[in-house]
C-alpha cells in the first residue's frame, strides 16, 4: 500500500511551507501563483523552501536540479513564469513516487 500523501495533502503542506518561508498571506498561495513574480520570493527564500520541503516530506532536493527540470534552456523570465506553486507540488509528488519505486 502506498503511503505517499495524495495531491491535496501535498498542496496543503506546501502551502504552509510557502506561507512560512515567504511570509505571505495564505490566500495568495494558489496553484497558479508564481513563486517569484506573485509571491515576491528571492533566492534565499527558495533555499528556505527547499529545506522545509526536505524536512516535511523526507526528501533530498538538489535546488539547481529542481530549477533545471522546469525546462531546457529557459531564460530568467521563463523560469519566473513557470515556477508556480502547482508546479512545485507536482515536483514533490513525482519525487515521492520515484523514491517509493526505487
Amino acid at each position: 500500500m502506498s503511503n505517499i500523501p495524495d495531491e491535496h495533502e501535498i498542496f496543503g503542506k506546501l502551502k504552509n511551507i510557502i506561507v512560512s518561508a515567504l511570509m505571505v498571506d495564505s490566500d495568495l498561495v494558489t496553484q497558479e501563483a508564481k513563486i517569484f513574480n506573485d509571491l515576491d520570493a528571492e533566492s534565499i527564500d527558495i533555499v528556505d523552501m527547499r529545506f522545509q520541503i526536505e524536512q516535511t516530506f523526507g526528501l533530498k532536493i538538489d535546488q539547481n536540479e529542481m530549477l533545471k527540470s522546469l525546462g531546457e534552456n529557459l531564460d530568467a523570465y521563463e523560469v519566473r513564469e513557470k515556477f508556480t506553486v502547482g508546479w512545485v507540488a507536482r515536483y514533490i509528488s513525482d519525487k515521492l513516487k520515484s523514491v517509493v519505486q526505487s
Binding site: 515567504l22 511570509m23 534565499i44 527564500d45 528556505d48
Partner: protein, 436 residues
C-alpha cells in the same frame, strides 16, 4: 574642501530596560539597575549567573520587524539593530524618498552577531547528539556531525551569523546606496562606527549616515567566552549590586545586550529641512595601544592618546569637558587605567567634573556599548542631567574622581566626552558639543 559640521538628528535604542530611547533615559536617570538572574538557559555550571538581559524573546522582538520576512536572516542582535534603526529614522523625520540614496550610508558596529544565539546553540548540540555512533562504543563522528549540520540546521543560519547582515537590512530598508560598512572591533565597534560615519560626513562623502550598533551575547557561548577570559563579575551572592565600576569591591563587568542607532547628518542639510539637531559631534579619535591583546599598557598610553586625539580633532582644550561618560566596565584594570588616563589628560580639571559609568546600570553591551553610551551622553546634554554610577559604596584609592555616586545629578554640560576601550588595544573617543 571645508570640513562639514556633523550633528545627531535622530536616535533609537533597544536597552536591557526595553524598546525605545525614552525607557532607556527614564531608567538611567533614576539609577535603576537592569540586572536579572539568567533563566533562558541553565547556568548552574557556569561561574556567572546574572546579566542585564532584555525581557523580550526573539519571537516578541520579531513582531517589530518590517518587512516581516527580514526576520529569517536576522539574529537577536540584528533584530535589535533593526528596531533601533526604525525608531531613529522615525525620530529624525527623514523621508527616504526625498534623499539622494548615494549620499546616504550606514556604519554599524557588530560583534558576535548570531552564530551562537541560543536557538542555534541548542540546535547544534542536538545535531551533535544525533551524530553519536554507538556500534563501537560511544564516539562522536565528526564527518557525520557536519553532514547532519548540513541536513538539519536551517540553511539561512550562516546569514544570520554574518556580521554585516544588520547593516545590509538597514541599507535595504532605507535605500542607502552610499558607503555601507560594518565595524567589528570588540567593545569599540559602535563607537568607531559613529566616529567613522562622522568622518564621512565631515569630509563630504555622505550627507547622512545611519550609525550605531548592536550586540547580544547573553547565551552560553558569550558567557563561556567572557568567563574563559576572567573579565566578568562572578559575584553571584550579591548579584543585584555586582556591577560596581570604580568601587573598591568591583570584580568584573556585568554583560548586557541591546542596540543603538543615531542618525548623523550634515548640519546644513539638517537645518534646511527644519529639523532640530540634538547635539554636534565635534571630535573623534580611534587609536590602538599596539601593546597586548587584553592588558593595558603601562600608564594607559593608549587611552591617553585617544582622549588627546579627540580633543585635537575638536580643537578643544581638556578643560572644556564638562562631563565624561566612561568606558567604566567594573574590571580592576580598566577602571584604574581609565581614571589614570583621565587625570593625565585633564589634570586638576578631572576633579572638577562628573565622570560616570552607565555600565553600572545596563552592563556591558559589548559591540553596542559605544553607541548606547553615546546616546546617554546626548540625553545628558539635552536634559541637563548626568546619569549616576550606581552600586558605588566603597571608594578605591586608585579611582578618586567624582563618579556621580548612585544618584543622577543636574548639570548643564556643553561638551561631553564618551570613552570606549576594547580588546585588541582598541580605543575610541567621541566628543559632542551643545548646539543651540
Amino acid at each position: 574642501m571645508e570640513a562639514k559640521r556633523v550633528v545627531v538628528s535622530g536616535m533609537g535604542a533597544v536597552s536591557p530596560y526595553g524598546l525605545g530611547v525614552d525607557i532607556f533615559r527614564d531608567n538611567i536617570v533614576s539609577g535603576i539597575s537592569a540586572v536579572k538572574l539568567i533563566n533562558d538557559f541553565d547556568v548552574s555550571n557556569l561561574p556567572t549567573k546574572f546579566a542585564a538581559s532584555l525581557d523580550l524573546s526573539n519571537t516578541e522582538l520579531s513582531r517589530y520587524i518590517r518587512p516581516p520576512k527580514a526576520v529569517k536572516t536576522l539574529s537577536r542582535s540584528g533584530m535589535m539593530a533593526s528596531i533601533a534603526a526604525n525608531e531613529a529614522m522615525s525620530d529624525s523625520g527623514l523621508k527616504t524618498d526625498n534623499l539622494n540614496p548615494y549620499r546616504l550610508g550606514t556604519s554599524i558596529g557588530a560583534g558576535g552577531v548570531g552564530l551562537w544565539d541560543l536557538d542555534h546553540s541548542n540546535n547544534l548540540l542536538d545535531v551533535f547528539l544525533k551524530s553519536v555512533e554507538v556500534s563501537n562504543g560511544i564516539k562522536l563522528n565528526n564527518s557525520t556531525i557536519w553532514a547532519n549540520v548540513l541536513s538539519h540546521i536551517h540553511p539561512l543560519t550562516p546569514l544570520k551569523g554574518l556580521s554585516n547582515i544588520p547593516t545590509a537590512h538597514i541599507a535595504i530598508k532605507y535605500n542607502a546606496r552610499g558607503n555601507c560598512q560594518t565595524i567589528t572591533t570588540a567593545c569599540t565597534s559602535s563607537a568607531q562606527a559613529i566616529g567613522e560615519a562622522y568622518r564621512q560626513i565631515k569630509y563630504g562623502i555622505a550627507d547622512i549616515v545611519i550609525s550605531g550598533g548592536s550586540d547580544s551575547m547573553i547565551n552560553p557561548y558569550g558567557l563561556v567566552a567572557f568567563s574563559m577570559l576572567g573579565v566578568m563579575s562572578t559575584n553571584n551572592a550579591d548579584w543585584q549590586t555586582a556591577a560596581r565600576p570604580f568601587d573598591r569591591r568591583r570584580d568584573g563587568f556585568m554583560i548586557g545586550e541591546g542596540a543603538g542607532i543615531v542618525i548623523l547628518e550634515e548640519l546644513e542639510h539638517c537645518l534646511r529641512r527644519g529639523a532640530p539637531p540634538y547635539a554636534e559631534i565635534v571630535g573623534y579619535s580611534s587609536t590602538n595601544d599596539a601593546f597586548r591583546l587584553t592588558d593595558e599598557p603601562p600608564e594607559a598610553w593608549g587611552s591617553i592618546a585617544a582622549i588627546k586625539a579627540a580633543l585635537k580633532d575638536a580643537k578643544l582644550n581638556a578643560d572644556s569637558i564638562d562631563y565624561i561618560n566612561t568606558h567604566g566596565t567594573g574590571t580592576k584594570i580598566n577602571d584604574k587605567a581609565e581614571t589614570h588616563a583621565i587625570k593625565a589628560v585633564l589634570g586638576k580639571h578631572a576633579y572638577r567634573i562628573p565622570v560616570s559609568s552607565t555600565k553600572s546600570m545596563i552592563g556591558h553591551l559589548v559591540a553596542a556599548s559605544g553607541v548606547i553610551e553615546f546616546i546617554a551622553c546626548v540625553l545628558a546634554m539635552r536634559e541637563q542631567i548626568v546619569p549616576p554610577t550606581i552600586n558605588y559604596l566603597e571608594p578605591d584609592d586608585d579611582c578618586d574622581l567624582d563618579y556621580v555616586p548612585n544618584v543622577a545629578r543636574e548639570k548643564k554640560a556643553n561638551v561631553i566626552l564618551s570613552n570606549t576601550f576594547g580588546f585588541g588595544g582598541q580605543n575610541a573617543c567621541l566628543l559632542i558639543r551643545r548646539i543651540e
